[in-house]
């Protein structure tokens, strides 16, 4: 395998030395491009109190190509589908090599605070979020309690 680019080493070091509050990202022991991520549910959101596991992979062309990120913990969110895939512009066409692992995870945390049912990935969730927001939030809280607080 090719040597790890200096940028990835530097980003990893900074993530360890100055972790982002509410986010932990630890590289896999056998693959430095694969990160085990835990994002805490933001305050005043239906995900508050939950610990959400994600996986993040830096492809060969990183940072020219976006990291691949997926929720492992089940989550009830209009922009995250049942396989954990995330609908976020900066992971697709709005990716820029000036962004980092840190900024990506912050954006994902922000997405938990501000769901966007008009650009959905999970269509049934988005539909309910639009027609009956209080019930959708109740579901999200229930899923958080059931899947993200199992410790």
């Amino acid at each position: 395998m090719a040597a790890l680019p200096r940028r990835i080493i530097k980003e990893t070091q900074r993530l360890m030395q100055e972790p982002v509050p509410g986010i932990s990202a630890i590289p896999d022991e056998s693959n430095a491009r694969y990160f085990h991520v835990i994002v805490t549910g933001p305050e005043d959101s239906p995900f508050e109190g939950g610990l959400f596991k994600l996986e993040l992979f830096l492809p060969e062309d990183y940072p020219m190509s976006a990291p691949k990120v997926r929720f492992i913990t089940k989550i009830y969110h209009p922009n995250i589908d049942r396989l954990g895939r995330i609908c976020l512009d900066i992971l697709k066409d709005k990716w820029s090599p000036a962004l980092q692992i840190r900024t990506v995870l912050l954006s994902i945390q922000a997405l938990l605070s501000a769901p966007n049912p008009d650009d959905p990935l999970a269509n049934d969730v988005a539909e309910l979020w639009k027609v009956n927001e209080s019930e959708a939030i109740r579901n999200a809280k229930e899923w958080t309690r059931r899947y993200a607080m199992d410790t």
Partner: protein
Amino acid sequence: MNYVILCFKNFIHRMLSLFSFGSKSVTNDLDIFIKTNTGNTISVSLDSSWDIRNVKEIVAPKLGFQPDEVKIIFAGKELKDNITLSECDLGQRSVLHAVTSKKKAKVIPIHDTVIEEEDLGSKPLNETLQDADFYNSRDDKVPLDLSKGKVNFYVYCPTCKSLKSGKLRVRCETCRSGAFTVYEDPQNWDDVLKHKQIPGYCENDLCPSKKSGRNGEFNFAAFFFKCSEHTSLGEEDEAVPLYLIKTNLREVSCLACGDICNPVIVFPCKDGHVTCLDCFRQYCSVRLSERQFWQHPDYGYTLACPTGCPDSFIEEVHHFRLLSDAQYAQYQKFATEEFVLRSGGVLCPQPGCGMGILIDEGCKKVACVNGCGYVFCRDCLQGYHIGACSSNEENIDSASCSYNVDPSKAANARWDEASKVAIKVLTKPCPKCRTPTERDGGCMHMVCTRAGCEFHWCWICQGPWTRECMASHWFD
């Protein structure tokens, strides 16, 4: 007064060298061409430690003049007597211009400042310009508080076939003679790259539109570049300026890898985003492999700043010469295909051919004349047929074809059965531009990868992507 002393010193020096080192002419290490304003060229061997006065003494008798009657012009400047050749960065087989100085360029008022005639003589332009001046564009007046160094130009040299440092040269815009002196130095890239920015005086007697330099009438300078790293192959041996590549005077770190490299690419966006050359290559090669370059109406097949800044397309596409030869060949292929398609042309659908064909409007029968010889229908890209296009592939055999076709070409032009089956099984056409598209994983939401089409469609419905597709068969 200083000048007189200098001249005197030079004279002594010259005398000394004449008497004591006259036999050292074997060290003449520079083969230089001298061009006159009457169209003659002579070849001389010079020593790079000599000064311009020495050169005049050698050259003037060969032209039938006294040394004092001759001016030496190089790279837009009249060279002063006390400058040594080594200060001028002359390469082998460079061309110096010798003109008789009877018709002197007079004092020229420009921009309310008067240039003293004495100042017209100096070192060549390349040696006097400062790198910091070329960092900013004309509208960007942010002062750059750095110790100024000699300007560095980067070029793509077609002879060396790689990125090299370059030398700025000047000639008359009209007659292309190098016997041309500028009235003011270019201050930025706009002055160098755009036409009619810097006025000057053409010394070539044969110039068809020679201006006096008086009453606001003057000629304009045309700038060009030569590679610094190979012996000049003549006056047509030019290199392309890669002006987005700059010396990293500000020590800006690359936006992608974070390292401080030198030189760097500064993108033409408002923020002037910087990447190192390696990251630029990686950026281009990723975009190329995804076929995500843009066909810009004026610049051609190009890329914008990687952070997506508006109005940041690269105008000089020779910057993509930084890619490997194989990648650059692919870049040219894609660019040509994109141009043909944008111009209403078609690409020959024969596997392995892909010849671009521009066709007259209304013409339906297309023959791949300079390529494989295949004759096909413009609309369905199948073998040519009479009547409406049929979606039934069994009906497209060219039984109705009664044209004069070269039998050997026809043999090559058969739609290979295996490819046909493979393409039929693996691909579906984009509903908008009909580009055959292979789905190699992921969901049913397709986005046409042809830059400029980017149509969102459904792999199952083969129509536009809708909410219904999302609801019923997104991940089937």
